[in-house]
């Protein structure tokens, strides 16, 4: 492939996926979860990814978040071709440029809200004083100022997801990826959480959110529809893309 030469061509985009394939082996049978996906995203976009369950939305988001490896194709983040990076370089890129929000929060139960949120800073080797300064400020803006020392089991779902957002934001990433962030929340706290994410997007961060809530998905500036590992609709291009195997 000519992955490396592409790097220059799409240099203006923040995220560029070209001909991405991903296949999982389910028993003996290969399952094509992503089929020749190409997509480019500019800095500051607000994108929703919708589609039926099992269509590959999470897999696609995981690829962009460098939580999984593509089988084929090229994935360029911030002018860096990620498919050729070492494990350690990918980890550094995740730490510095990407924030990830999960449907089930993924907080560590023994750690307090503060300790959970500061983990990326701990990994990055930031001083304890500086860490609590950053987290305290974020918690204040997220309405969690009095929850610093609470354990996850002492917090509501909405609060847990806001702690997770704080954790995703402590390194001031440029891209925020959210996989069904409201999936485990009631409507009210779901709205609150989306409100927080949208506010962050207004401040300049790229927001990519997977959801199967149409009302929620419609709020995004750009909407992607996935079916069977293929992006079948992209509101930015207004082009329906067919499956090409």
């Amino acid at each position: 492939m000519t992955q490396l030469t592409m790097t220059k061509v799409i240099a203006t985009k923040q995220i560029t996926l070209s001909h991405i394939d991903k296949t999982y082996l389910v028993g003996e049978k290969p399952l094509h979860v992503l089929n020749d996906i190409s997509l480019s995203i500019e800095a500051g976009e607000y994108i929703s990814i919708m589609g039926p369950s099992g269509s590959g939305k999470s897999t696609l988001l995981n690829m962009i978040g460098l939580l999984d490896r593509v089988d084929n194709g090229s994935l360029v983040l911030e002018n860096t071709e990620t498919t050729v990076l070492t494990e350690e370089q990918r980890a550094k890129l995740r730490r510095n440029s990407l924030g990830f929000i999960f449907q089930n929060f993924q907080l560590i139960s023994r750690l307090t809200a503060l300790e959970n949120a500061e983990l990326p800073l701990v990994l990055a080797g930031v001083d304890a004083n500086k860490r609590s300064e950053i987290v305290t400020e974020l918690f204040e803006s997220l309405g969690l100022a009095d929850r610093l020392q609470h354990l996850p089991k002492q917090l509501s779902g909405g609060q847990l997801q806001r702690v997770a957002i704080a954790r995703a934001m402590v390194m001031s990433p440029k891209i925020l990826l959210a996989d069904e962030p409201t999936g485990n929340l009631d409507q009210k706290s779901g709205k609150e959480v989306v409100g927080v994410l949208e506010e962050l997007n207004r401040q300049g961060i790229t927001l990519i959110m997977v959801t199967h809530d149409h009302e929620l998905g419609a709020r995004a500036n750009r909407q992607l529809q996935m079916v069977d590992g293929v992006i079948v609709a992209d509101s930015a291009t207004c082009i329906e893309i067919g499956t090409n195997k």
Binding site: N62, R69, Q106, R110, L119, V122, R167
Partner: protein, 401 residues
């Protein structure tokens, strides 16, 4: 990630999962403690017996009447009865230049009595040198003079227990007692010292050699104890004694010489073997504990795949994940090893406090080996699952496969 932070992170895991921490560190502690105690029994036994041998004094030769066949004698068939060892034989040996002192010994049992109390004890006939050779000291009196042995004086030295049995709290020195209907005056009391090579010295009476000769009505010696001068060639002296006695016994080699050092070294071999054998048993117990550590670590790391996946998702490298889990494991094992060492040394100290007849001695190598082994096994079996989980992509780890 800073060192201080990874230590703090690991310490938090241990502090906030107290049950798990307690169970795991007890597994290590029990392993370490059992290694210490098992080896301390072996080492204690070794010291116990070698102290017994040492109390006999070093550089000691013992002449026994009769030729032991196993010592490779040149006589193919054994002549009727060997010639008796005599006091004169002992005196002749004394003239050898490398010999410091010689104690001829006649031994038998005799009824010893004082007033209405009596006891059947071992009676030893010897000279004052007997005390020197066997490292015995007197708590009262001065014992025999050089002459008293030759003159068959009616005097005796008694063991501490015998003194108590016959005289109770009363003064024994200068008193008369009866040995097989003959009267002897007490001129010395042995210091309380317990057993020496199976002979209970506290329960014994010693009389001059010539007195014993007439008491038992036989000049035949039970054995001759010889102490060498310092830094003498033992085997050379043995040869000289052999040929000297041979000459005196019509050219018949009819004695056996046992050397203290030879006994000691064969004993050392046995006891070293014993200690090593016990160490092996102990190592097995540690391996068993290691197995437990392995299983619990393996399971607990697998249960925390999600955490590993999350750490990786928020930017931890595989190396950082391994460091985190190894640090945690090292802390846990360190805790277990400290607990085990403390328990082992405390139990040994308590045992030694309350049981006087046997001393538990924990060998330093057992403490070192058990500590090291705990770390090696524990870290290895943390490393294996942690490294496997850490090398996966975050999603795979989070999914837990």
């Amino acid at each position: 990630m800073k060192w201080r932070d990874s230590w703090r992170f690991s310490a938090q895991v241990l502090l906030r999962h107290k049950t798990r921490t307690a169970l795991l560190s007890f597994a290590v502690a029990i392993g370490v403690c059992s290694v210490l105690l098992l080896t301390s029994v072996g080492e204690g036994a070794r010291h116990y017996v070698s102290k017994e041998f040492a109390s006999l004094g070093s550089d000691i030769l013992i002449i026994l009447p009769g030729k032991k066949e196993t010592s490779g004698g040149s006589i193919p068939f054994y002549s009727t009865t060997p010639r008796d060892l005599t006091i004169e034989d002992a005196q002749a040996v004394k003239h050898l230049s490398s010999v410091k002192s010689v104690a001829p010994v006649i031994a038998g049992t005799a009824l010893v009595s004082h007033k209405n109390k009596s006891r059947e004890v071992i009676a030893i006939g010897s000279t004052q040198d007997f005390l020197k050779v066997r490292n015995l000291t007197l708590s009262h009196g001065r014992g025999f003079s050089q002459k008293s042995a030759d003159l068959a004086e009616s005097i005796c030295i008694i063991g501490a227990q015998l003194k108590d049995d016959l005289f109770g709290q009363q003064k024994a020195m200068g008193q008369w007692l009866k040995i097989a209907e003959r009267r002897y005056r007490v001129v010395g009391i042995l210091e309380q010292r317990g057993e020496s090579l199976g002979l209970d010295m506290r329960d014994m009476v010693i009389i001059p050699i010539r007195s014993a000769e007439s008491l038992f009505n036989s000049p035949a010696l039970f054995r001759i104890l010889i102490a060498l001068k310092p830094r003498q060639d033992e085997s050379l002296t043995e040869q000289r004694i052999l040929s000297l006695i041979k000459k005196r016994h019509d050219n018949e080699e009819d004695i056996t010489i046992v050397s203290q050092n030879a006994m000691m070294s064969s004993f050392d071999r046995i006891s070293n073997f014993l200690t090593v054998a016990i160490g092996v048993i102990a190592s097995i117990s540690l391996v068993v504990a290691g197995f437990l550590i392995m299983n619990v670590s393996y399971i607990s790391v697998s249960k925390r795949q999600q955490e590993i996946g999350l750490l990786k998702a928020i930017g931890a490298t595989a190396t950082e994940v391994r460091v985190i889990f190894l640090t945690e494991s090292a802390l846990l094992i360190g805790l277990g090893v400290c607990l085990g060492l403390a328990a082992g040394y405390t139990i040994a100290a308590l045992f030694n406090q309350f049981i006087a007849s046997f001393v538990l001695i924990i060998p330093w190598w057992a403490a070192l080996a058990s500590g090291l082994m705990s770390f090696v096994i524990g870290l290895l079996f943390t490393w294996l699952p942690a490294a496997k989980a850490a090398s996966q992509d975050p999603v795979s780890a989070m999914r837990g496969n």
